[in-house]
């Protein structure tokens, strides 16, 4: 394949860099043959994207989020340096099943799955693929289309009973440049349970696109941790138009879940270090009467942007939601949170609570946080709150009055702020040193 000097091409021949980038990407993508599920999806998504641009800030859902950082990523499939990244991963602890995701090759190849966890049979895959996205109204979302256009593979698993092993899904693009798409589907049978830790790491000019669908049968339980560790190259906070030489990694993450009654879903996400990260956790309680617990923690520094758009829809009575989203904004970073909670007429006796807590650590950083509650049912409990503050002076003074220096006191408070969420990740997450990531410190060797 010939590598086209993308930057020059863009400037000279096309007025819209996003449109050019997308066209270049579509032109370089290999195509799946035949009319398999994924091949059909590819064709459909590529058609949908043809002639399109990137999400624009004129669209309400992207109002605060500048997607142009994407154009600094080489418009090509991820050029992976063979074997380099994998060697750098910490060894998995006992009782953890690690699957390394690379967007190509079969991650289940040669893997002995624990009892209760199996590859989803093709009939069920045909039936359920895309269902949770559709149900959550996300099938046509730009990041989902991009994923569909690129993905050449799907990891689909059925959970048929409680599985004590933690499933660790790891992708590390290292210094590689280009676009990678991961597509996942988890089907939890009634009464089944599973804990998952999804880890994404990237340093180079790469875009990692993830679409994960989860379907929870009656009484099923899914605890899902997401640890997204980007590593941006050091660059001035006031950046000119990004170029691929100093491009920071991009993460686009959609998680669409459908819950049956009595199921329990817990999503705990910690995100930092990406030039641009957009997370969209979407949950549908199909007949209500389920329990959803969302915890989010995101940090921006430099000129980074992290945007979480969550949406929980109750389509039946007696549903519960407990959501806490936290953000730290330093440097000239921008943190966005939009939390939609939709309670239609049939969702009586819904009990939902949403809290957004943001810490503004610099004068140049920016935080946009917006709870978005649509409540039609009249017999519900829906609480929401949002705070944006600096570090609390009384907390700082208390620590200082015990001999702890101002800098260390501030660090302790920030750690405390993060720990409240990080402590809820499945225990093996400690291996990845999530606190160092969130504090913007280099992890210990």
């Amino acid at each position: 394949m010939v590598t086209i000097p993308v930057g020059e091409l863009r400037v000279q021949s096309r007025p819209n860099p996003g449109e050019a980038w997308l066209a270049d990407l579509l032109a370089t993508l290999p195509a799946l043959a035949g009319n398999s599920l994924l091949a059909t999806q590819q064709q459909r998504c590529r058609q949908a994207l043809a002639g399109e641009a990137l999400p624009s800030r004129r669209q309400e859902a992207w109002r605060f989020t500048d997607a142009s950082a994407i154009t600094a990523i080489p418009a090509q499939p991820l050029q992976r340096q063979p074997a380099a990244a994998e060697a750098a991963l910490p060894a998995p602890p006992a009782n953890v099943l690690r699957l390394v995701l690379a967007g190509s090759g079969d991650p289940l190849q040669g893997v002995a799955l624990p009892e209760g966890l199996e590859r989803l049979e093709s009939g069920a895959l045909e039936e359920l693929f895309g269902e949770a996205l559709d149900a959550n109204g996300a099938a046509a979302a730009w990041p989902v289309c991009l994923n569909g256009a690129v993905a050449g593979q799907v990891l689909a698993l059925r959970v048929s009973q409680p599985v004590p092993t933690l499933l660790e899904l790891v992708s590390d693009t290292g210094d590689a440049a280009g676009v990678q798409a991961l597509r996942l589907l988890l089907v939890l049978d009634p009464g089944a349970s599973l804990a998952v830790l999804e880890v994404h790491r990237a340093r180079g000019a790469s875009l990692t696109s993830v679409v994960l669908e989860a379907r929870l049968g009656r009484g099923a339980r899914l605890r899902h941790g997401l640890l997204a560790q980007g590593q941006s190259p050091h660059q001035p906070a006031v950046a000119q138009r990004p170029t691929s030489a100093c491009a920071a990694p991009v993460l686009l993450h959609h998680l669409a879940a459908v819950q049956d009654p009595d199921s329990e879903l817990e999503l705990i996400a910690a995100v930092a270090g990406w030039g641009l990260a957009r997370l969209e956790p979407l949950v549908l309680q199909r007949s209500g009467a389920a329990s959803t617990r969302l915890r989010g923690l995101q940090r921006v520094d430099g000129s980074q942007v992290v945007d979480t758009h969550s949406r929980v829809l109750f389509s039946g009575p007696d549903g519960r939601l407990d959501q806490v989203h936290k953000a730290l904004a330093d440097g000239a970073g921008r943190s966005v949170f939009n939390g939609a909670v939709i309670v239609p007429r049939q969702a009586q006796r819904t009990d939902a609570a949403q809290l957004s807590r943001s810490l503004l650590l610099s004068d140049r950083a920016r935080i946009d946080t917006k709870p978005e509650l649509e409540i039609v049912a009249d017999d519900v409990k829906c609480a929401h709150g949002a705070t944006v503050s600096r570090l609390q002076q009384n907390e700082l003074f208390y620590l200082q009055s015990r001999g702890i220096g101002a800098d260390q006191a501030a660090r302790l408070l920030l750690r405390g702020f993060c720990e409240e969420v990080l402590a809820e990740l499945p225990a093996p997450a400690a291996l990845w040193q999530p606190l160092a990531l969130l504090m913007g410190e280099d992890p210990a060797p």
């Binding site: 009384n394 907390e395 003074f397 208390y398 001999g403 702890i404 006191a409 405390g416 702020f417």
Partner: protein, 280 residues
């Protein structure tokens, strides 16, 4: 214990301070020698708590005049953390809850900051755990509180015990306890006061800030000071506290009024006597 030859630990001289441009302290004088226990009493708004916060270096209070010497050195020039490291301790009236920060780690970091200043070796987690378990006995505190976040979800009594535990670990030379008795039931009061008594020695000094006599039933002060309108109005022995308990604070108003009238008069006289000279 009063020893006239004991070294002076804290010398407050004509201390004046404001919060949000509102003068609160209007000339406080107070000297603490090693071995002494002082009680400062007074009504709400008399400036007692402000005094404690100014001494500890709270950033919301601005010193507008006077001086404070700690063992002969200027205390007010130091950052709050430096004051703590050299041996000044403030027990908070309302200890602050800090979610997500482990109490044990907080205590260890604080203890090591003080030890470093004293030229002692820092304690690793194991050595510190031994020390903290020993000091827990001072306030009969359940070790389970070490595993929780700092003061988070602690009852009023537990918070105050945690304050005295910190004092036991930091071994201050001057301990200021701001309304340590507030919000305590009689058993908790006895335990907390017992801790303070255990920690008081011939080498350190304690400044108790309180509303009520009941704390002074269990901790015997050497001096009692009555504070009003930002200054110390009267100083006496422990019997002064009993007198206050009996008479209340109403006499204070009369005295303050008289004092302020006398001051105004003196001011006017000073201006009056100066003017002809200036003219001449």
């Amino acid at each position: 214990m009063i020893r006239p030859d004991a070294p002076v630990l804290l010398e407050i001289c004509d201390l004046r301070a404001s919060v949000e441009e509102q003068p609160i302290l209007k000339g406080v004088n107070l000297t603490l020698r090693a071995g002494e226990i002082h009680a400062v009493m007074g009504r709400n708004g008399s400036g007692k708590s402000t005094l404690s916060k100014v001494l500890a270096g709270h950033p919301a209070y601005r010193v507008t005049g006077g001086s404070v010497l700690y063992r002969g050195d200027d205390l007010l020039a130091l950052q709050p953390e430096q004051r703590a490291r050299i041996g000044l301790f403030l027990g908070f009236q309302y200890p602050v809850e800090i979610p997500g920060v482990s109490n044990l780690e907080f205590l260890r970091v604080a203890t090591n900051a003080r030890r470093l200043e004293q030229g002692l070796e820092e304690l690793d987690t194991f050595a510190f755990e031994d020390l903290v378990r020993e000091r827990l006995q001072v306030v009969q505190m359940d070790p389970a509180f070490l595993e929780r976040s700092v003061n988070e979800g602690f009852s009023g009594g537990e918070k105050k015990r945690n304050e005295i535990l910190q004092m036991a670990l930091l071994e201050p030379l001057v301990a200021i306890l701001d309304e340590t008795d507030s919000g305590l039931d009689i058993d908790a009061l006895r335990i907390v006061a017992g801790g303070v008594n255990q920690l008081a020695s011939a080498d350190n000094a304690t400044l108790l800030i309180t509303h009520y006599q009941r704390l002074l039933d269990v901790i015997t002060p050497d001096y009692v000071h009555v504070m009003a309108a930002g200054r110390i109005l009267r100083t006496g022995g422990k019997e002064l506290a009993l007198e206050l308990e009996e008479r209340g604070y109403d006499w204070v108003d009369v005295e303050i009024e008289r004092l302020e009238a006398a001051e105004l008069e003196a001011l006017a006289a000073a201006q009056g006597s100066r003017t002809p000279a200036e003219v001449g």
